[in-house]
Amino acid sequence: MKERSSSIAGTQADAAAQDAQTVFIQQNIRRIFLLIYRIVGNVDDAQDLTQETFIKALQRQSQLKDLDKAAHWLSRIASNTAIDHLRRNKKVSFTEIGEAAEPVMIAQGETPEQLLLRGERRRQLDDGLAILTERERMALLLRDVEDVPADEVARQMNCSMATVRSHIANARIKFRKYLETRKS
């Protein structure tokens, strides 16, 4: 009897852990997919690397003591996974983004003008990122989009603060020039 009740308790604990895992994935999967997609530049790789990131994170979840830091921690694993992928493959192609056919989809409550504007902003970001070097792109995304502090970016990219500052500064200057050219 005692054995049976402990088995039921174990099953309930497993179910709770499974639920928590599902919620964790649902809350973060879109953000992590986008982060990786913008670093590696194509959907298929982003899909594989997102899966790899979550598997790594969930296998090491005992290392996570502070739940409030889960988002940063996950971003760190994602960027490291993307960096490893780029190192393995060396070359990155951003052509897929430009060449992909834009489907006409209107989200609920979105006017055609808003849709157009959204598409324009997204294209602007993708084209702007494409003119940066790999490391500039990664530093800019982590610092300005993911809001990771510069010293943490340096740790994630395994380089010095001076180097990461140089990447961030160059990326902001290049992106600004790109926006100015586009406007004119």
Partner: protein
């Protein structure tokens, strides 16, 4: 790095970093002082801040076109979630198998291996003097044990006895009265007495070695 350009203005790289507080404290203080009175640099700063805003707006503009179509993202999301769950479950299975295997003959093997590494590491890394001292302590302890099993010097009612390897030799002082026995810290026992028959004083010292 020189953070100034001509005319005393900070360099454009410095302003790009200052826009989001990415400069070191000292540089940040200098630039803060400068931009208070420089409309040109203040304008540049505004431009960089606008760039960051534009980046963030672009990032929140949604999914890439290739996955944004109706149902495409939810299909990919479901597929990824399923694969993640399978991957995590597989990882846990492998962990359990690993633990079971270690419980067999591999556990002791690992412990033996680690012991060899530890001992080798100890002798290679400990200073020679410390290692010699430890060895000498072991040696002394071993000799002490051997002595306990080997030679014993003791006084008896009839004399001083030396016992070694199971045999005993006794130096007798028969018929003696007023025997003074002394034991020293150098493992020796001495006896001093006056012989009743001859009247001579006899001093006996027995050393254990």
């Amino acid at each position: 790095m020189n953070s100034r350009r001509s005319g005393g203005h900070p360099r454009v790289e410095t302003l790009a970093l200052f826009a989001r507080g990415d400069l070191a404290w000292l540089e940040r203080r200098d630039v803060t002082r400068h931009v208070r009175h420089c409309a040109e640099c203040l304008h540049e700063l505004g431009e960089f801040r606008a760039v960051v805003e534009e980046l963030r707006r672009g990032a929140s503009a949604g999914l890439p076109p290739a996955v944004e179509s109706a149902g495409e993202w939810s299909r990919i999301e479901r597929e990824m979630t399923g694969n993640i769950n399978v991957g995590v479950a597989a990882g846990r299975c492998i962990e359990k198998v690993g633990v079971h295997r270690l419980r067999g003959w591999r556990g002791p093997l690992v412990i033996a291996g680690l012991s060899v590494v530890f001992i080798a590491g100890w002798f290679l890394n400990m200073p020679h003097r410390d290692t010699a001292q430890i060895l000498s302590a072991f040696h002394s302890a071993w000799r002490g044990a051997q002595t306990r099993n080997g030679t014993i010097v003791q006084t008896t009612a009839t004399g001083i006895a030396v016992r070694t390897q199971g045999a005993m030799l006794t130096l007798l002082h028969p018929g003696a009265t007023d025997v003074t026995v002394s034991v020293s810290g150098t493992a020796s026992v001495g006896a001093r007495y006056v012989d009743d028959e001859t009247g001579q004083v006899t001093i006996t010292n027995v050393y254990g070695q």
